[in-house]
């Protein structure tokens, strides 16, 4: 079975926020909940690079491990989803997630955050595929429709790739070979456990 992964190509991402609004649009995510966001490093100086980040659907997902009610589950395609009927909004997943993916609709005073929301890889949730209930709670289930995440499909420069990890890696590898540079796959080390960027600073390549 395909193992779904994201790659954001920092040599291509232009911080256009297309992916972000695509997600808002497709999943009708409310104001304040940012399933995906774009971060620019070295903003405004030479060396500036942008990266779009959402839930990486980690192999050994920290969010899943700390959830007090075990409301996370992993699909056969490696997508990490959760059940909002069970979620208690404790926020632990957001403490644990390396990428800041889990989002909450409320500010959290008295610990009232509402149910956690995060990127579903456009794979909906535990409700019936394509049902109204699924859409209202989790957004679209594009995977079930045979489509891929809206954010990646609409990315303005195809910096953001999503899909079967092998295919995605192939596309990316091709690009790296073509341009002969920019080989780092952002976040893969942290999310999927290979020795890549995101390892302790001491071990980082220089």
């Amino acid at each position: 079975m395909a193992r779904m992964k994201f790659v954001c190509d920092a040599e291509r991402c232009i911080e256009c926020n297309g992916c972000v609004t695509a997600c808002k649009n497709e999943n009708e995510v409310p104001w304040g909940v940012n399933r995906r966001r774009v971060v620019t490093l070295n903003d405004g100086v030479p060396g500036e690079k942008s990266i779009s980040v959402a839930c990486m659907h980690c192999s050994d997902a920290p969010c899943m491990a700390v959830c007090p009610v075990n409301c996370f589950y992993r699909t056969d395609e490696g997508v990490v989803l959760h059940d909002k009927d069970v979620c208690i909004g404790c926020g632990y997943c957001s403490y644990a997630c390396p990428f800041g993916a889990p989002q909450f609709p409320a500010q959290g005073t008295f610990g009232v955050r509402g149910k956690m929301d995060k990127c579903t890889f456009c794979a909906g949730g535990p409700e019936v595929n394509g049902s109204q209930a699924e859409f209202e709670k989790y957004g679209r289930n594009r995977l079930a429709e045979g489509k891929l995440p809206a954010c990646a499909e609409m990315c303005s420069t195809k910096a953001l790739l999503a899909g079967d990890g092998d295919v995605v890696a192939d596309i990316f590898r091709n690009r790296v070979v073509q341009r002969g540079k920019g080989a780092e796959v952002w976040g893969w080390g942290t999310a999927y456990g290979s020795r890549q960027a995101g390892q302790p600073p001491a071990g980082a390549k220089s």
Binding site: A2, V39, P46, G47, V69, I88, T109, G146, V167
Partner: protein, 375 residues
């Protein structure tokens, strides 16, 4: 799960393959970072280069930036700080919490919670529970030996009792809900199923979040109410040395509160109370002016969890003694009055003080007429 096979990857629709880069004359040469040129890295300031400087000598080598990312540096995001204070962090910085590896903060926190607090905290709690059970079943509860005299001493005024019980109720709510949050998925979830368990936990968690501040307030009142009689007094050392009588022999004489109670007061109510309440307030996002970043929350959580486990263990003992562990104790806190016999037996010095009139036997107004004690 989704049976349709989705197109392999969104990126697959990008572009037709293009001819490999031909090194064009006069332009900048591309550079494969895996073949770092020695002359560039021979620069003594190589390691200190910014990403822009690095790009000059080794285009495409973004290592300085990735290093920053790993260090949790905050980048730019158009989302306002007020709404999403940490949106600029791609990845949480690397830290090493006590008990974790050096890894990104989220993972480190997970390791502390899941590898230490949950298993060891849970075990400690179970051990204490078990110890008390064994104690109870082997020794039974501490009986009052002498017969009741019928003469009552007012041990706790209505105010003291009100303070204590509101505190105790809040504590119970907090402890039960906290326990379910921390350990429920091991002992409740398998029986209840996730939906029911989710609801239950949701209710409890909400109760916890609101009971916390209540507890904090009542704790302060309790602290000041009982402060006067919890200062160290003569006899405390003796009481401790003799283990409160548990190490054999008769129960040593004590003041209004014995040294054990005082330990709980200072260790549990005062010290752990401060820790639990302050960390709880952080977790509840109730302290104004504080920026509730994940690092803050992780630390607060670890402190809270450790302190609450200790506190629960301590108060398990207290509650045991306050209920089934010692005859008459519970009645004292419920009705406010103890029999002179009980007082003499468990708090001899205090009894003497009352008898000597140094402490009034009836402190609250109006005194119940029938029980007025004349000396």
């Amino acid at each position: 799960q989704a049976p349709a096979s989705p197109p392999a990857a969104a990126g697959a629709v990008t572009q037709q393959p293009a001819a490999p880069a031909s090194p064009a004359a006069g332009g900048i040469q591309s550079q494969n970072i895996f073949e770092v040129k020695p002359d560039a890295s021979a620069d003594p300031n190589y390691a200190k280069q910014s990403n822009g400087e690095r790009a000059r000598v080794q285009p495409g080598n973004n290592a300085p930036m990735w290093r920053d990312v790993g260090a949790g540096v905050t980048g730019y995001t158009s989302l306002p700080k007020s709404e999403a204070p940490e949106a600029g962090n791609l990845i949480q910085p690397f830290v090493q919490y006590p008990g974790s590896r050096l890894t990104n903060a989220g993972e480190a926190w997970r390791q502390v919670r899941n590898n230490w607090i949950i298993p060891y905290g849970g075990s400690l709690f179970l051990i204490v529970l078990l110890a008390i059970a064994i104690f109870y079943f082997s020794k039974g509860s501490i009986k009052t030996h002498g017969a009741d005299t019928g003469r009552k001493i007012e041990r706790f005024t209505p105010f003291e009792r009100a303070a204590h019980w509101s505190n105790a109720i809040a504590f119970s709510i907090l402890a039960i809900s906290g326990l379910v949050m921390a350990f429920g998925k091991f002992f409740l979830l398998p029986f209840m199923g996730s939906t029911l368990f989710g609801w239950l936990t949701y209710v409890l968690k909400t109760a916890h979040n609101f009971a916390g501040p209540l507890f904090a307030v009542s704790l302060v009142i309790v602290f000041f109410t009982f402060l006067r009689d919890n200062w160290p007094q003569k006899g405390d050392v003796n009481w401790l040395l003799k283990g409160g009588g548990l190490l054999g022999g008769a129960e040593p004489a004590s003041n209004r509160f014995n040294a054990g109670e005082k330990l709980i007061f200072w260790g549990g109510v005062f010290f752990l109370g401060i820790v639990v309440v302050s960390s709880g307030f952080v977790l509840d996002k109730l302290l104004p002016g504080l920026v509730y970043e994940r690092a803050t929350m992780q630390i607060a959580h670890m402190v809270h969890a450790v302190a609450t486990v200790l506190m629960m263990c301590m108060f398990l003992g207290h509650i045991y003694l306050g209920t089934i562990g010692m005859q008459g104790a519970y009645k004292a806190m419920r009705s406010g009055y103890v029999d002179e016999a009980w007082a003499r037996e468990h708090h001899a010095y205090w009894y003497e003080d009352v008898k000597a009139g140094r402490v009034p036997a009836q402190r609250s107004e109006p005194a119940p007429p029938s029980q007025t004690v004349q000396v």
